[in-house]
Subunit: 490 residues, 2 copies
């Protein structure tokens, strides 16, 4: 795949001069068009042989474009602050808004490239890294972020020569790094690593481009043309195949809404579970974990009360409650999951979501806020997101709280009558109630499709509040103890 690039093609200054003006104008025209449109983000991932001129090409690109609307995102070893969250968090966090262009150094390819250039790379690890990257980039592509990936390449001789030339000039010597100088010895391994990574992650949704880099004129021209092409003709987002329809049984039909607890049993069990949660979270082992709780369910099914009681078992300095309402305009300008990623808790912390990323396959589906293909791909994206949380040590529980229509009506009426609660009941709640069958269907499908072993749903009938509270608190206690491999002595 590198044959052409290793021929080190050149472009003489005269030819370059002829191309330069038109390229610069075209780039600006297209950049402004994309900016004005404000519908997509272009992310340019920069990779390749060390010492091939990546840095200076990016600097030039910034100069040719209007740099005010370009974000150069450079990542090195994760800082402590970054290491406390899943690996992809820092890339999510830095996502430029739609209309803008991002240039990414030290991207999500860094770990895969490091593995691939080892003497005996772990092929299984490479495979799963590639799969994760392809999922990530496909999701971005489907969500308005186009990713193009540039591999700067040149022959071994040209690389050595370029470094020597730069070292000789005091104005460029600082650009030559230790890594650049070591390429000579490791060229073949780097080359093979590049080949492996590119073949495993080249997709129509997020393609790789090889940039012959020995000659500056050629390198610049090829880079500019590639970016221009991406502005003009975004890579095709992956075709989202319609999900096979699922014969989901009504998940709520068989549910026993009549479970009840007597006051004395409730008090005993609830106090015990609360203490177990408190103790588990204070354990030193929890400093390496985190706890993510998701509350979804019928209106007036008691999410707020459940959250308040959970919070009570913890120190306020340790948890954050994240109520999910309409997205802000900063959130709207980014892929759907961004507004949840920004609240992913650090190690040793608790995040309680009052409604969550499941909005995509519930309210957005039912109310028609999301296209069918968008909410349909939501299931997979959600599972992927949750898998990343869990892989990083999060203990994740999802609660679906449900009540009978009769009980809901009773609670709505009670809210209307209590002065300070009346604000909790709006016309929308009544409208949602009218759409109960649609919501029920969406919820049933969601429960079936996202009830993974690592992030199971707890469906809890809450007509009896005591029963519900005990179920929730005991489930959290159990998950914490299981997750940390402890059994509570009490």
């Amino acid at each position: 795949m590198f044959e052409e690039a290793e021929k080190d093609p050149t472009l003489d200054d005269k030819q370059f001069a002829k191309l330069e003006d038109a390229l610069r104008t075209d780039l600006l025209v297209e950049q402004y068009r994309v900016l004005k449109q404000g519908e997509r983000t272009l992310l340019v991932v920069v990779a390749g042989i060390d010492g091939a001129g990546k840095g200076s090409t990016v600097n030039l690109l910034n100069e040719w474009l209007d740099p005010r609307h370009v974000r150069t995102l450079a990542f090195a070893e994760p800082s402590q602050h970054e290491a406390e969250r899943p690996a992809m968090w820092r890339y999510w966090n830095a996502m430029p808004a739609k209309g803008h262009t991002g240039i990414v150094f030290g991207s999500w390819y860094a770990p895969m490239l490091a593995e691939a250039r080892r003497e005996n790379p772990d092929t299984q690890a490479l495979k799963s890294m590639a799969a994760a990257i392809v999922r990530f980039e496909s999701m971005l592509a489907a969500d308005g972020v186009e990713v193009i990936k540039l591999w700067f390449h040149l022959s071994r001789e040209a690389q050595q020569e370029r470094c020597a030339r730069m070292l000789a000039d005091p104005d460029t010597a600082w650009r030559v790094s230790e890594a650049d100088l070591q390429v000579g010895r490791e060229f073949e391994r780097l080359r093979m690593a590049g080949e492996a990574v590119i073949s495993a992650t080249h997709t129509t949704a997020a393609p790789w481009f090889i940039i012959p880099s020995a000659d500056e004129n050629w390198r610049i021209t090829a880079t500019a043309r590639t970016v221009l092409q991406a502005f003009r003709y975004p890579p095709k987002p992956p075709v989202v195949e319609s999900l096979a329809p699922m014969e989901t049984a009504d998940r709520f039909a068989g549910l026993d809404y009549s479970s009840k607890l007597a006051k004395s049993e409730y008090e005993r069990r609830f106090a015990r579970a609360t203490a177990r949660v408190g103790r588990a979270i204070r354990r030193p082992a929890f400093r390496e974990r985190s706890l993510v709780l998701v509350f979804e369910g019928d209106d007036a099914a008691g999410k707020g009360g459940a959250i308040r009681r959970l919070a009570r078992s913890m120190d306020a300095r340790q948890y954050a409650i994240i109520p999910i309402a309409a997205p802000s305009d900063e959130e709207k300008a980014r892929p759907y999951l961004w507004r949840f990623w920004r609240h992913v808790p650090a190690r040793g912390r608790v995040a309680i979501f009052d409604r969550s990323w499941y909005g995509r396959v519930l309210v957005e589906r039912v109310e028609g806020f999301a296209e069918a293909e968008d909410w349909q791909r939501g299931y997979g994206e959600i599972q992927d997101f949750e898998a990343q949380l869990v892989a990083h040590g999060a203990i994740l529980l999802k609660f679906w709280l449900t009540i009978t229509p009769a009980e809901q009506l009773k609670r709505f009426r009670a809210r209307e009558k209590t002065p300070f609660k009346s604000f909790k009941i709006t016309d929308e709640d009544w409208r949602n109630r009218d759409k109960a069958p649609e919501y029920r269907e969406a919820a049933s499908e969601m429960l079936a499709r996202t009830n993974t072993p690592q992030a199971p749903w707890h469906v809890i009938a809450t007509d009896d509040k005591r029963y519900a509270r005990v179920c929730i608190m005991e489930a959290v206690a159990q998950a914490l103890e299981d997750g940390m491999g402890i059994s509570d002595p009490e």
Copy 2:
């Protein structure tokens, strides 16, 4: 000031039970009212004697309020990521949106309290810390964030007794910290430190309240009542005195717009200055500093071109360009300066602002987007913000680029004719041009009021682009070299 609290008043359970229900309801009613209104943030700063029950009171407050709209902000020693920015950055960064309530542990009082409890506190340092805090809190108060500060207090004997009682119970022993246990020996010093800090920072805009804490019932009731009072009757923001009118001479009348540079001199000086900037930023000493550049000025005076050329002298991984446009809704929900604080660069980094916090006293003043009292207090707030940047090591330069009306007209017409630039010229630019005298007056006053020695304005006539570019690049080079106490050898 602590006599009452050290009497360790108590409230028996019966009386407490009578009060509790009403207090809880009232708190919820008021919290929802403030939330629904969405016009102000309440920040509750928690301080006081260690082991007085601060933590458990805050937990209870979270339980009485709807915790979904409360953010508990707990700060410890600054992490590296925080230490790389000015001390107040982390408090700005965590600012809850309007409508929400924040509870702050380890607030901006921590350094002052640490100083005050030393054996021989530095009174001069305490004075300036107090002044900085008062300015900060007054600004917040004027900008929709009310700050109340709670000092939890009890007698020495009660504190010792409370710790002993908690240590005896396995369910509360974990709450007792090393600091709590040491209070006995240092009680008198802590008490005096509290007194000093409270007297120096108690203002009508951000008052202190002393919470007698020996008895849990009393402590909870006093806290809840204080918060309730703050919801109901926000502290009075400080009266902003109208600024004495300033006889500002027209700053632009005497300016020489005819300065010109010949091409050869331009090329020589520009290349030299560019190299100086590049070298200065690559020095190890710069890793302890940062560079903040502000570009303001007439439309079409060449801000974009100047920024592009500056960027060219640096590595794209090192700088961020921040174009300031209309605030996002997340920005609108917070004090004015928040949207600039979020972009304050870390050490070793460069931030280039294309328009800036000066919008408050320019466009917002002229267009009537800000009330007179708001833009008038802007001058002081801006100076304070800039002083914090400089105190933390930032090298700060502010450029005002100005052109003659004739030259502006020429550039507007040229923009209209260039296809990809026509998007840069809008009806608004023409309208602004009609308001030139008002803008000129506002700019003159701003230059006069904010031209501080540490953050001087560079007013540059840009009719001749060569002259302007050299002036800017040389000014940046000089400021970097002066700031790091180096002289460029070349």
